[in-house]
Amino acid sequence: MKRSWLPAIITFGVILFLFAPLVVLVVNSFNASRFGGEWEGFTWNWYIKLWSAGEVWESLWITLKIALSASLAAMVLGTLAAYALHRFRSWLQNVHHMLITLPLVMPDILMGMSLLALFVLTGVETGLLTIWIAHVTFCLSFVTMVVLGRLQDFDFTLLDAARDLGATQAKAVKKVLLPLLLPGVLAGGLLAFTLSIDDYVITFFVSGPGTTTLPLRVASMMKTSRSLPMINALSTLLIASTFLFAALSSRLQRRV
């Protein structure tokens, strides 16, 4: 049967569209020109400047701390949630399922705004803790969905088999369920980690003094034209690490 070339051409165009701005960023990060309109020669200058911008690295450290702890918490909560959603059918799980789904479609600004309202009304000082809470909240749903997908492929007869072979309930979970679920949990954690590192809007609402995460730092750098070329360099580093991460997570997905 003759196939139309149109979808292939559109797909190619879309990928070009997705990558064009990023390519410009990467190229500009090595461009001696400050505004990147024209190629004025190759330079490492912006990377050197970035290296000595201490506040950027401090922000990176804060971001990593939050991302790591928030995705760990989301992994634990999300795995329990996914297990409950998969194993039980009841009104409780219907409510549970709805609460897990809604944050996925809640616009960021509303989630930021409502958490801010909570912290203002309860008198909680905004800072590291409030950012961490916000990040766990929006990561939780994503982790649950990824693990739930894994559980749907999991053959629960394997647990019966383990019991049949002399494993207690706890042993069966530890020796069979957890090892087989681990790639899914890690993939969910990785997604949570990326989302946490990336978040700007929600963090902006619940951040306080001294908690400038990397996206907040980038936003403030964008306001001063002097530091614009440094953003190019920083972006290139971030895009490179995204590639690394994507490769790592697709390796995890492929493992049985």
């Binding site: 394997l158 019966d160 088999a161 049949d164 002399g166």
Partner: protein
């Protein structure tokens, strides 16, 4: 390993066991005994309760009432991990994250056996199922038949007193199934453990087991050897589930000595059949004749006391190579008959569609059966 000579006749005892799911009585007051070393089948259509019964023996379901004993020990309240019973699951349930070797070693490790014993036990089992060279592979790298053998080895290595096999051949294609059938019999012969098969396939049950329990709607209809189930089914359910059967309804008109009864069947005269238990005169009865027990002739067979004969018209026929099947109309009755060509006594011409033929069967081949559920 050898087959124990001294058999305990009631090694596995199912004692008035019932289980209800919601409104459905999955297993309804079932009692069975299985001898040590026996190969026993639970046979029945899907939903008859055989799988629930198996899961109760394995410990995955708790009976609502009744007891289950193995070797004199009451295991009804034991969790699956403490029972002297192991299972070969329908889809084998091999652990995909473990190698073949580690799958087989799983049970021994759970019971914390010494290293040396685990090693020798697993290697011996690998030899038994002829998979020694695949020990390091993952289950996903094996064929269906090989996975099945891993599942058997993984269960047997724990030296269970009873091995449960849930539809062991269902996941295999036809050719492999024939092969694994022989293999299972050989393994059973070699290890001598009590095997309990669950299957919906009568052919599988007949060729695998010493005795079969035919189940229907949560109840056991009949427990017997394969030959007895086929030749002397007690209920019409058993007769129709195992092999093909013609059924007729009639009234007992004459009770004879040695357990024969003459039954008046509308349109077929009054054939003489085995009464298969006590019947009384004028009782309405159901009788059964297997298709291959009916002889077809073009001419009337020599009449006599010991032959039931009646006429019919060939409605339809199908050739199967080894035999030919005929559908014959006689009044309101549509009768199935099966003939090997060489046995056709009317000469070498087959009866064609529309031909008038004589059907006859020996009184020993016709039997009174009870309606299902009346067991």
């Amino acid at each position: 390993m050898y087959r124990p000579i001294l058999c305990m006749d009631d090694f596995l005892v199912i004692d008035h066991v019932s289980k209800t799911f919601g409104a459905q009585r999955a297993v309804d007051d079932v009692s069975l005994t299985v001898a040590q070393g026996e190969a026993f089948s639970l046979l029945g259509p899907s939903g008859c309760g055989k799988t629930t019964l198996l899961r109760m023996i394995a410990g995955f379901e708790r009976p609502d009432s009744g007891r289950i004993l193995v070797g004199g020990q009451d295991i009804t309240a034991l969790p699956p991990e403490l029972r002297p019973v192991n299972t070969v699951f329908q889809n084998y349930a091999l652990f995909p994250h473990l190698s073949v070797w580690d799958n087989i070693a799983f049970g021994l490790r759970m019971s914390r056996r010494p290293r040396e014993e685990i090693r020798s036990g697993v290697d011996r089992m690998l030899e038994l199922v002829r998979l020694s060279e695949h020990a390091r592979k993952r289950p996903t790298q094996l064929s269906g038949g090989q996975r099945q053998r891993v599942a058997i080895a993984r269960a047997l290595v724990n030296r269970p007193q009873v091995l449960l096999l849930d539809e062991p051949l269902a996941a295999l294609d036809l050719k492999l199934r024939q092969h694994m059938l022989m293999e299972l019999n050989a393994i059973h012969e070699q290890v001598g453990t009590t095997f309990i098969y669950v299957t919906h396939d009568q052919g599988e049950a007949m060729s695998l087991s010493d005795r079969i329990a035919v189940m229907n709607a949560g109840k056991v209809e009949q427990v017997d050897s394969p030959e007895h189930l086929y030749e002397a089914p007690r209920t019409s359910f058993v007769a129709s589930f195992i092999g093909d059967a013609n059924f007729f309804t009639g009234v007992a008109v004459e009770l004879q000595h040695e357990g024969y009864v003459r039954v008046l069947v509308d349109g077929l005269g009054s054939p003489l059949v085995l009464s298969n238990g006590a019947v009384s005169a004028n009782q309405t009865l159901r009788l059964m004749v297997r298709p291959e027990k009916i002889s077809l002739t073009l001419t009337r067979p020599p009449s006599g006391e010991r032959v039931n004969a009646f006429r019919g018209v060939v409605e339809d026929m199908a050739y199967f190579g080894s035999h030919t099947r005929y559908r014959i109309r006689a009044g309101e009755h549509s009768i199935l008959a099966q003939m090997q060509r060489s046995r056709f006594s009317g000469g070498d011409i087959d009866p064609a569609r529309g031909a008038e033929v004589w059907m006859s069967f020996h009184p020993d081949e016709g039997r009174v059966v009870r309606l299902e559920g009346a067991a």
